[in-house]
């Protein structure tokens, strides 16, 4: 996992899918013979409220290029508010990714109901496209911070160095 070449880069996308809605939508997409990027790994959860910021961070640490949580439509959660909890958690994870030095677009939350196979396909495709656009997770390529204060600091240092070299 640690020596990925960018040219043969195939994104790894992790989906935390609620078993009542999005997981069933993925199942339906299969039954309907819909095609979507095969590089999504689906983790079935009993409710998106069960997912936690640590789980998402661990997925990135293990080398995921994009991670998303997909839960029931508003008002449809079997546990009343699990999807709202997960939806509220994801912006916090985005902020954590920024602080760590990863692009916040690598994580997202979606509502996909059990009947929305087509939307599931769109969501997976969107996250796959994002991961492709952002390139591999620098944690698995041994890269540097790609976003946030740490990346800005690095850029500043480099331009200072270049400025000093030009001045000399």
């Amino acid at each position: 996992m640690n020596d990925v070449k960018t040219d043969d880069y195939e994104p790894k996308v992790i989906a935390f899918a609620c078993e009542f809605c999005s997981y069933t939508a993925a199942d339906l997409a299969g039954s309907m013979r819909l095609r979507y990027p095969a590089n999504v790994r689906i983790i079935k959860v009993p409710c998106t409220g069960r997912t936690d910021a640590i789980m998402l961070l661990k997925a990135f640490e293990a080398g995921a290029d994009a991670v998303f949580v997909s839960g029931c439509q508003p008002g449809d959660c079997h546990f009343l508010k699990g999807n709202y909890r997960a939806k509220a958690m994801v912006p916090g994870v985005k902020k954590m990714l920024e602080e760590i030095g990863l692009h916040p677009d690598r994580v997202e939350f979606f509502h996909v109901a059990a009947s929305e196979a087509q939307k599931w396909v769109e969501v997976v495709t969107q996250m796959n496209d994002r991961a492709r656009r952002l390139g591999p997770n620098p944690l698995r390529t041994g890269g540097k911070p790609e976003y946030g204060p740490a990346a800005q600091k690095k850029e500043q240092e480099q331009s200072d160095k270049q400025g000093a070299a030009a001045g000399a």
């Binding site: 910021a53 640590i54 961070l57 661990k58 990135f60 640490e61 954590m96 602080e99 760590i100 030095g101 990863l102 620098p138 944690l139 890269g143 540097k144 911070p145 204060p149 740490a150």
Partner: protein
């Protein structure tokens, strides 16, 4: 409870300097309840540090431990093995816990992972408000259970200032005027007349003005220790 909030990751990374073995130490009481420094937040910070250090080519080993209370020495003993051999402890307790850890585990360097904000209540999901300032001489009995020392921006003890408007404070319009709250509460209690009573000037001797405070209770000490 003591309310705190996590320091920015970049600031915490700045504390690490040349340390290699880092322990993130949580506290399972106040800061766990306000979701700033309990076991779960320890896991979160440790996870962030592991990821951030890899991107910054820092070679650090991060471990985790949580004591039930960092302000009690008996509980600090429960994490002494976790502290052994570490170059740095990031304590996620309030300022009390950080200092207590630094004292107990000297010469290990102990730094804070959170900012200690105030003593307050969790009045809604994800919302905390300051309710007490440790003045050492409680006046709540005569103010209908609403603290003017803390909840009035100016700590006024004899009614509102001229900046009280529509029940709000002139210092911050999001803050309720404490004296309006006190008046309304006393009215509801049928005790408005009590507010008209002239009270002696409050003694601030037991507040912070005399330097750090100490409390000593002989009745709690075993007889042989007192001799």
């Amino acid at each position: 409870m003591i309310v705190g909030d996590r320091k920015p990751l970049e600031e915490i990374i700045g504390f690490i300097e040349d340390a290699r073995n880092v322990l993130v130490a949580g506290c399972g009481t106040c800061v766990a309840v306000c979701m700033a420094g309990g076991e779960k937040e320890v896991q979160m910070l440790a996870q962030e540090l592991r990821m951030a250090s890899r991107l910054r080519s820092m070679e650090i080993e991060v471990s985790e431990a949580t004591a039930q209370r960092q302000c009690d020495k008996e509980y600090l003993e429960t994490i002494k093995n976790a502290v052994a051999g570490k170059d740095l402890v990031i304590s996620m307790a309030c300022g009390i816990g950080v200092q207590h850890m630094a004292e107990r585990f000297a010469p290990v360097r102990v730094v804070p992972g959170i900012n200690t904000d105030f003593l307050g209540v969790n009045w809604d999901i994800g919302e905390w408000k300051e309710y007490c300032q440790n003045c050492g001489d409680c006046v709540l009995a005569r103010t209908g259970g609403i603290c003017p020392v803390t909840r009035c921006s100016k700590s006024l003890l004899n009614g509102p200032c001229g900046g009280s408007a529509n029940g709000k404070c002139e210092v911050n319009p999001d803050t309720d005027c404490a004296w309006q709250l006190i008046y309304d509460r006393m009215k509801a209690l049928g005790r408005l007349d009590k507010l008209a009573e002239v009270e002696p000037v409050k003694s601030w001797k037991k507040s912070r003005d005399g330097g750090p405070r100490r409390l000593s209770r002989n009745d709690m000490k075993p007889a042989e220790d007192k001799a």
